[in-house]
Amino acid sequence: MICAGIDAGSRTIKIVLIDADSRAVIAKGVIDQGVEQNKLALELFEGLLKGNDINRGDVARIVATGYGRNIVSIADTTITEITCQAVGVRHLVPDAMTVIDIGGQDSKLLRLDRDGKVRDFAMNDRCAAGTGRFLEVVAERLEVGLESLGDMAAKSKKPAAISSMCVVFAETEIIGLLAAGKAREDIVAGVQAAIATRVITMAGRNIDRPIILTGGVAMISGMDTVLQSALEQSVAVSPDPQLTGALGAAIRASDQLNGAKP
C-alpha cells in the first residue's frame, strides 16, 4: 500500500508518496500555491498518481500538514508542520538534533530528543523578516530571480547592514541602499545575514548539533553558510529540503496505517 503526505505551505504545495512498509519514496511533486488551494492540491495529487501509474485505491492513507492543511479535502487527518518536519528530517538525517525550517511565511526552530521526537520548538510570530518572503521581496526589488540570489550573495565583498526587523521597512532600506549605489550582491548578502540573525534569536543559548536546515529557503545557496556564521556552529542542509514536511506527513500516515507507535 501507499501513503501520502501533503504539505500545503504558504508558497507551494508539496506531495510525497511512499511505500507504507518500506517507506521508500515512490513519487514526489511540488506546485505553486494559489487561491484555490484544495483544487491545486488535488491536481498535484492526481497528476502524481497518473504520472506513476498508481490507482487512487492504492493510496491507503493521506496526512496533510502545513498552514493550509485543514482545507485539503482528501486528507484522512492533519498534523502540524512542526511534528512533520521533525519526522521528515529525522528520517533523512537520523542523528539530527536541531531543525531550522525557513519557509515562505514563517520560520521555526525545533529541538529534538534522542528518539527524534520534538522536545521543544519556537516560531517567529511577529513579522516575515526571518522568512522566505524577505528574499522574495528583495528579489522583486532587485529584479532578479529567487534562484540567483545565492550566487549573487556569494560575490559580495561587503554585505550591507540591513538594520530593520520588518520586511516592509527593510524594503525601504533596500531602496535607500540602491540609491546610495550599494552593489546588489552586497544587498542580497545583507538580507541573508538579516534572516539568519532573525532566525537565531529563536535558538536561545543552547542548541544541540547536528543542526539541519530545511524548508524552501534552504535551497537558496549560501543560507547554510550565513546561519553557520551567525550560530558559530556547523549547519547542514537537509536532502530534499522543500519536501521534508510532506515526507514526514507521509511517514506519519504509514505509522497510522500500520498501527505503529511512532
Binding site: 512542526i82 511534528t83 528518539d115 521526537k117 522536545r119 521543544d120 516560531m123 543559548r205
Partner: protein
Amino acid sequence: MNNAPGQITLEEWDERYEQLRRAGLREPGYGGPLGRHVGDGDRRLLKLRYDNSVASLRLWNFLLTEEDRLHNARAEGKRIVGTMKDLGTVPVMAYSLDNVVAFYPDGAWWIPCVMELSAGLLETADSLGIDESFCPVRAMLGAFVTGAHFPIPDQLVCSVGATCDDFSAIAQRLNGLGYPILWWEIPHRRFPEVDEAAVRLPGGFCAPKRQVEFVKSELERVRTALERLAGQRLDDKKLSAGIQKANEVRRYLAELRQVTFTAKVCPLPALEMLIAEMLAIHFCSDRDETISVLKELIDEVKTRVQAGRGVLGDDTARIFWVNPVADLQVMNLLEDCGGRICGTEYLFSHALDTIPEELPPAEALARMALADPMVGSSVDRAERICADIRRFGSEAVLISRIPGASHCALEGEVIGEVVRSRLEVPVLEIEVPPVTDSIRPTLGTRLEALIETVKERRKK
C-alpha cells in the same frame, strides 16, 4: 434538559437559560440570560464557548455587571477607589471600609476584546500619544476619557516603581489629563545581603526587612488617604477583618485551582477558570458576592469530579499558562486544539496566597505586596512556576506575551530557560493581541503543535 457538563454557545445558553428559568432557577439580582450583554455592545460574547453550569452563568453575569454595580455604588453614596497596577493589596484595604468600593481600571484592557474594537478605546489612547507600542491596558485611558464604562473614581491609587514601564507611562498620561493619582512606591524585591535582617514573604520568597518597612510606610500613606476619602478610621481591627475576608476569597480560589487543575478529567473550562481567578485581585466590586460565586463554582466542580465527568476528553494535554490573554477567545482555542489548563500564573500569584493573619495587618499587607511576582526577578517567577508545574502535573508551559507590555520583552526567555532546565517540559511563547481573528490559524498551529509534542512525549 441535558445537564451533562459541557461547553455551549451564547445562543445555546439563552435557550438553556429559558429551560432553567422554567424549571425554577434562582438567581441573584444581577442574573439573567447572557445574551442580553450583547445588546450592551459585548459582541465577542457571540464567539465564545461557555461552561453550561448554573454556577458559571452566575460567574459570567457577575463579571458582566460590574459597571452597573459601580454605578449603583455611586448612587448609594459609596466612595469609589480605582486601584491601578497593584494586583491585590489596596483592594483589601479599601474593602475593609464599609462605605468604599474598589475596582481595577486596568481591567478595561479587556474592553477592546469584548467589544471587538467597536468602543474606540484604543483609538482614543492613540490620539493621546499612547499608541500600540504600549500594552492594551492603554484602553483604560479611553475608558476614562469617554466615561462610557466605569464611573470616574473618587480616588485613584497606583503602585509605581517595580511595575511595568508601559503601564507607568499610561498612568502618568492619565494623571496629566487631570485625573489625580495617589502613587505609592513598590521597590524591586531583592534578596537580603548577609548583614541585613531578612523577612519571609508569602509564596516562599525573602526580602530585606528594610524593604518591608518601606512598603509598610507607603501603605500607611494609602491608609490615610482611604480614611480621608471614607470619612472614617481604618484601624487595625477593621483592616484585620478585611484581610480575613480577602483570605476567605483566596482559600476558595486555592481550593478551586487545586481541584480543577489536578482532576483527571477537566471539570471547568479555561475561560471560566481565568475569570474566577481574576476575582482574587479586586473582587469584581463586591467582595461578599465573590465568595458566594466561588462557593457555587467549587460545589459544581467537586460534583463533577466526584462523578468523573468533565467538559473535555480525558486525553487532553495539561498546559500551564503564563500571563493573561488580551483576547478571551484564545482560551477556547487551546481547548479546540486538545489542551486544558492545569496551572496558571496570571501575574498575580501573590494574590492567591493567604495574607499572614498572625502579623499586624499593615506588616502582613506589605509582605504580601512584596511577594508580587512582578516586583521580583523573572527567575523568582520561574521558580514559582516550576513549583506549581510539579504540584499540578502540567506537561507543557505556554507563555502568552502581551503586545507592548514591557515585562514581556525578556521574561519569556528567562522563564523558558528555567523551566526547561529544571523540568524538561516544552515551553512555547505566543503573542495574543486584543482581537486574534486574523491570526487564529497561525495561533492554532502553534497550540496544536505544542499539544502534539506533549502527546508524543507520553509515548515514551
